[in-house]
Amino acid sequence: MDAPVRIAPPQEAAGVGPEPSPGVTPEERLRRQSEVASALSALLPARALLWQREDVAPYECDGLTAYRQHPLVVALPETEEQVAAVLRTCHGMQVPVVARGAGTGLSGGALPHRLGVTLSLAKFNRILKIDPLARTAVVQCGVRNLAISEAAAPHGLYYAPDPSSQIACTIGGNVAENSGGVHCLKYGLTVHNVLRVKGYTIEGEAVEFGGEALDAPGLDLLALVVGSEGMLAVTTEVTVRLIPEPVLARCIMASFDDIRKAGDAVANVIARGIIPAGLEMMDQPMTAAVEDFVHAGYDTGAKAILLCESDGTPEEVDEEITRMLEVLGDSGATRLEVSDSEEQRLRFWSGRKNAFPASGRISPDYMCMDSTIPRKRLADILLAIAEMEKTYRLRCVNVFHAGDGNLHPLILFDANDSDQLHRAELFGADILETSVRLGGTITGEHGVGVEKLNSMCVQFSPEEREQMFALKRAFDARGLLNPGKVIPTLQRCAEGGKMHVRKGVLPFADIPRF
């Protein structure tokens, strides 16, 4: 990863970014840092506590690199007792705590607090138990998503939610964001694949949500905690469901000469009662960019490409592929190709997986959006985005988890031109607001973090936001876990947020990005 580059400071961009910390002089901050470091050094080995500038710098942001902030200290506990002790101490001293997994998040959920502790759970990386008979895995929060499936593979099992960053992201982070992935239409989100989350409250009490059974007594706090973005408790251990690996997977690549036909094709697949294992779309500019990059034989003349995957037993896949081809054909596909080998299937996907790096080649910078709209509105939003390209005089290339209506428009611009940056931000906010207007939501999978704080004002009323604050207080009365994230205050409500990629350099650039 490149050395940090100068990014337009948050306060220049119309109120986006994290809440400013209260006015604290540099001397006061230094004194506080000393107090906190001193208190935590009594609980942690020296190697587990960082506060020197150069040691803390790698933690100054997560995957949302536009916003960077040094915490007072970074704590890297090695045991559960240390986690509990750190939290207890911070609670007692009223110090904010921001938990961090791999730092791959795209909404700034792990952005440090200027007067807080970044609690890194990176050392909690052990797989504690794989139970092939019960089909569960008990893992520490810092275990990488893909590592779980790798460990389950010898038993013919895997962990289904497959977010794009799965070779690096942690299961703890997945729990925080309720991560999805290409296969979530058929296999569910994190919340559908987790049985139990163990961790600690901000007061340092051990807490367990869910359990080993399929349900737990009382309110469904497991469902509440999954997707709570580090605001309600700190996760240290997760019990996940493992499911049998499908015997076979085959992918159809379908070309369309018209955006609306492609959008309607997606709705038609679902309307015919087919739940594909994966259903992804790329528009023409994106297809051109990726074909240039991976040379996989994509139809660059098509206005849109659909990748439609079926998995299961050979008989099931046969039956389903036949039905899929029929629907796609009836929907006006101009070309249909079915993978007949695993190698070809992966080649079909290679372009889609390389959408981000491919976009980085054709533009100095891009802004990746994340929102969801009802499937049947895919064509509407694509056409609206085409109009916005004219309004804001910027190009936008598009990839979609079409099966879920979850879109990732990539707005192309050059950040050296501050007017382009400004127009890109307006373009992004327009996309989010249009998504809500079309019956969707401002964030499909990346979370709110700091990035979407402003858009939360568009999606929720003041009473709804206040109810969420009250819910948060039930877990964290002092507001110390990840303060300033997710739910904006009344004063805060303004325009939408963004993820900014500088000169094609994405953090964790080698991770496939969907």
Partner: protein, 367 residues
Amino acid sequence: MSAVLDPALQPLVERVATARNAGAQLDIRGGGTKAFYGETPQGEPLDVTGFAGISSYEPSELVVTARCGTRLAELEATLAECGQYLPFEPPHFGGAATVGGMVASGLSGPSRAAVGAVRDYVLGATLLNGRGEVLSFGGQVMKNVAGYDVSRLLAGSMGTLGVILEVSLKVLPQAAGSATLRFQMTQTSALKQLNAWAALPLPLNASAWWEDTLIVRLRGAMAAVEAAIVRLGGELIEAGHAVPFWDGMREHSDEFFVAARQAIDAGEQVRLWRLSVPQTTPPLTLSGEQLVEWGGAQRWLCTAAPPSQVRDVATRAGGHATLFHAPDKSPGVFAPLKAPLDRIHRELKRAFDPSRVFNPGRMYPDL
């Protein structure tokens, strides 16, 4: 996002305001089919059945939005017309069952272990909280991580956080193929077999074991079901008998449940418990009749064993026990909460219903 208040909600909002001001309590009433479930209802009845109707249904979006008073039977019939259904097979327990009650009670049917529970299909909900505010959370799309997941929290909340006014549910196409097989097996063998099958790519949808008989339902693509029939063996039960059997499991009209309720009503000192345990839990060492569902994860027990013993066995197995039918509820219905969950529950109650207007004591005495 809430817009202007729907005029049809005005009476409900006013009832809540009146109750708050008077320090009174309200018992949220749908069709009354789940009134037996949970602790004894308290408070003045708040009839919400008037707020009914399917607000929107988009088969191609796999989502239906219905108001709380909508009859569950009407919802399911509407879905069936388009070849769709609620995969988690919620029990009705009576013709007056409503959509609101289905979500609030959080009960799922025989297919739950294979397809998920009520909560897994809730996409969004509109709530009337204890401050008389009408709030919407979630939406109509599955990929939605904006804010806290309040709508899923409402599933199984027993009306303690407020009135579920409207809910958006994910629906799925009905499966193409279905078949029911019967086997003679001890409970130990059945549990082993069910768990072994669950690790294979089989369209196993539901199971029930009682008195050395295991019955399983396959559901999925025709080709998958046919292949599974051959692979699993057993005796194929024809649809004319299979469908009523699974309805009996879902609605508790099966002999097992009828006999349990009759015994309780006749004054025999037995209770019907619902135990939720890990699927691989060996047969429970408790006296009485046991019916095992959900691949081993849901076990119905009709027993005279003392409640403390039943709860202890459930806890040791890594699960919990719920008192489902009993002559009296003094042992407590839901399993006690481990700290700090009890405190979190009280604080959440305060966050949603600070004056304790709704369904007081319906889940736990202090909620």
